[in-house]
Amino acid sequence: MSCHEAVTFMLKKEEGKISFSQQLSLWRHLAICRLCRLFSAQNRLINYAMKQRHEKLIALSEKEKREIIQNVLDQNAFS
């Protein structure tokens, strides 16, 4: 198994979409490949951090809001 394939299997494993024999070859690959073990650790970190994302309070400027109002009302006038 190449590292490229190992990454695919790791991603499929997250969704439970690999067969038992694929799981075995992934384990075998991880046992001998330090780089893929490091990737796997980083992958878990990313997945965890993605869940922690939350919406920030950000605002449009007053000018942009006025433009939205203007654009919509103008567009309507010509439709």
Binding site: C3, L11, R53
Partner: protein, 193 residues
Amino acid sequence: MNQTLPEVEKAQRFKDWVLTYSDMLFGHAVFRGFDHDAARDLVQDTFYLAWKNMDGFEGKASVKNWLFVILKNKITDHYRESASQAAVFVSGHSTQFDSAGHWAKPSYPKELTVNLSEQQDRLDFQTILEGCSAKLNTIQKAVFFMKYMDDLESDVICRQLSITVNNYWTILHRAKVQLRACLQKNWLLIQNI
């Protein structure tokens, strides 16, 4: 028959909606990976549709929920549109692997010391994650956010974006590998300051 509002009153109500809800909608679009201009355009498109359908809005749902439904549909449309061009960049081999599919030397994954239960690490990591996910292309963002934020399964994502399962895995693979490289690079940078 619906009671139609006089034009002036309707326009006034519309202005109130924009002033009250545009920041929330904008924040959501940015959260979904759109840059400032694209997010503002999505908000404008949302309000355009809301304005056109104002007479049909009977107040069964809250205005806020109604606007969010419109925005979310707009976002999915946008994602689907970018997916229709996905075949172009799904081909070709990632530069992070050599021709045999092993990690290319400049892309070797490294050990990162990150402790997400510590506030500083968490904030730094989140900042870098935001910056790096902003660099993904539209279809990568679509797949990535639908999977990791909405917890959607691959078959649902494929259906919504009209992409094949094979393309899905290729896009996700590319996105993950690219995001990881960006995170590692930036994390090591701030660790060495």
